[in-house]
């Protein structure tokens, strides 16, 4: 029976500890645009997409994900856009994968993690 590990090395925890003592690196200056998908989600940086849209000549200055979000907003009860809440989500989305992706972006969070009878889940 093997009794003891001969060597114990860590990659993640050592790196995390090392990063704690590093000075914060200054990010290169760039235009930053944030979108907020719902009231509970953190702000998501969409800088790359925003800049790509601007440079492609489309000139709308808005990421396609945001456009689809606006279009499908009624599914979240927003009451505006181009879809009908009276029919099934599949009928609104059809076979268009972009639409389907946009619809799926309406992610709900916070459905786990509400129970805490102690400070730790440990046993």
């Amino acid at each position: 029976m093997k009794k003891s590990s001969k060597a114990v090395s860590l990659v993640l925890i050592t790196a995390t500890l090392a990063s704690c003592s590093k000075p914060t690196e200054t990010k290169e200056e760039q235009q930053r645009v944030f979108m907020r998908a719902d009231s509970s989600a953190p702000y998501t940086e969409v800088t790359d997409q925003y800049q790509q849209q601007r440079s492609s000549g489309g000139g709308m200055g808005m990421g396609s994900a945001l456009l689809w979000y606006m279009a499908f907003r009624p599914m979240m009860g927003g009451g505006m856009g181009y879809t009908s809440p009276g029919i099934s989500p599949q009928s609104n989305v059809g076979s268009n994968t972009s639409k389907a992706d946009a619809y799926k972006k309406q992610t709900a969070r916070g459905g786990f993690g509400n129970t805490s009878k102690s400070n730790s889940a440990a046993s």
């Binding site: 029976m1 093997k2 619809y103 969070r109 009878k117 440990a122």
Partner: protein, 380 residues
């Protein structure tokens, strides 16, 4: 088994912190980690613990099969909507990584007895696999041994698990702002990375539901997820109904059949299946059935909460907490050893089906709680 002392380093707290162990002392400045003494155990005792752990694991698997075959879920207070998920995870033999049996070395019978099985969310893994090993290296170098191949077994087990993953990313999840849980889960993730697995950390309340599958904060579908969060909490939360209907059928680790083993209802089931087995303590549902010295435990109690200890049918000790509505079991009181520093129990780790390491936990009272101390050990 003997308690021995050494002269601790003056800056031992710094050593622990530099090794990523941030909760060696509690908020009241009371040490959780014991540096200056240890339990010296013999090689035969280490072998005895190894064999007991392996035997009990076999017995537990038989017991799970018995519970599922006979649909005894009501005795475990497991709701109807989740029975099928448990059965499916059992039939598919979904990945199970680890567990920790808590033993007492009964001083009267000179016999290991199992107190319970922490099968779903066991912690103190980092203390056992890393901190305890580094403590031995610091004070004894290579001159001593330890019952501790936890680190090797974790990496090896993740390597084996990689072939059984459903997707290419393994998510790890725990509650936020719990340093102990985060340390344990980051250690598990560390070992998974060393095993060549692509990983992501997501706090349990950040997990998303997009209408079809669970997702992370980058909207990546979750196909395999290790959670340090109890099943009995998960299944009563708003997203619980999505787990069985998840289009990706995400593989949750530990699997849902571990709900059966992490529930104290398994103790009377084991006693019924293996009556008078030397590793078991007499146990019954609800009533002591004539026992004079026994411990009454809620089915789902954690870290010693709501436990009542009876000696001669009188309450000798009791702890507070929020558990108990789910029902109780009564377990015969073991003769807890105490060598002057406290009552101690032995935690025995099973990783990837194999016993691989032990911990000593020590308490001022007979009931082991979250205030119990971690004491390292040496085989000599």
């Amino acid at each position: 088994m003997q308690l021995k002392y050494l002269t601790p380093q003056s800056n031992w707290q710094n050593r622990l912190e530099q090794n990523g162990f941030g909760y060696h002392t509690d908020e009241n400045n009371i040490p959780y980690w014991v540096e200056e003494y240890y339990y010296s155990i013999s090689e035969p005792l280490a072998d005895e613990i190894y064999a007991a752990t392996a035997d009990l694991w076999d017995m537990c698997l038989q017991a799970v099969d018995h519970v599922i075959t006979n649909k005894l879920y009501d005795q475990f207070q497991i709701p109807l909507f989740f029975h099928e998920h448990i059965e499916r995870s059992w039939e598919k033999d979904e990945l199970s990584i680890y567990g920790r049996f808590d033993f007492v070395y009964d001083t009267v019978h000179q016999q290991l007895k199992v107190l319970e099985f922490n099968a779903d969310t066991p912690t103190s893994l980092y203390e056992t696999g890393v901190v305890q090993w580094q403590w031995m290296n610091t004070y004894f170098g290579n001159s001593r041994d330890q019952f501790n191949s936890v680190h090797d077994r974790l990496i090896e087990t993740w390597k084996e698990a990689k072939a059984h993953m459903k997707g290419s990313t393994l998510h790890f999840s725990c509650m936020r702002e719990t340093l102990e849980d985060l340390t344990n889960i980051e250690y598990l993730r560390d070992c998974a990375i060393q095993a060549g697995i692509n990983t992501k950390l997501i706090y349990i309340d950040d997990i998303g539901w997009d209408g079809e599958t669970f997702t992370d904060l980058e909207d990546e579908m979750i196909t395999d997820i290790f959670k340090l969060y109890p099943w009995e909490w998960l299944i009563y939360e708003p997203f619980a109904l999505h787990i069985p209907s998840d289009m990706a059928q995400a593989q949750w680790i530990e699997p849902s059949w571990k709900m059966i083993l992490s529930n104290k209802a398994i103790l009377p089931i084991l006693w019924e299946l293996y009556p008078n087995h030397p590793l078991l303590l007499e146990s019954y549902f609800d009533e002591p059935k004539g026992m004079q010295n026994f411990v009454k435990k809620p089915l789902l109690s954690r870290e010693g909460a709501n436990v009542t200890l009876y000696i001669n049918n009188q309450v000798a000790e009791a702890t507070k907490g929020d558990y108990g509505d789910e029902g109780y079991i009564c377990q015969a009181l073991a003769n807890l050893p105490n060598q002057g520093k406290g009552y101690f129990i032995i935690g025995s780790w099973l990783i990837g089906q194999e016993p691989c390491g032990i911990t000593f936990r020590e308490s001022d009272k007979r009931i082991t709680t979250d205030k119990s101390r971690f004491v390292p050990h040496i085989i000599e």
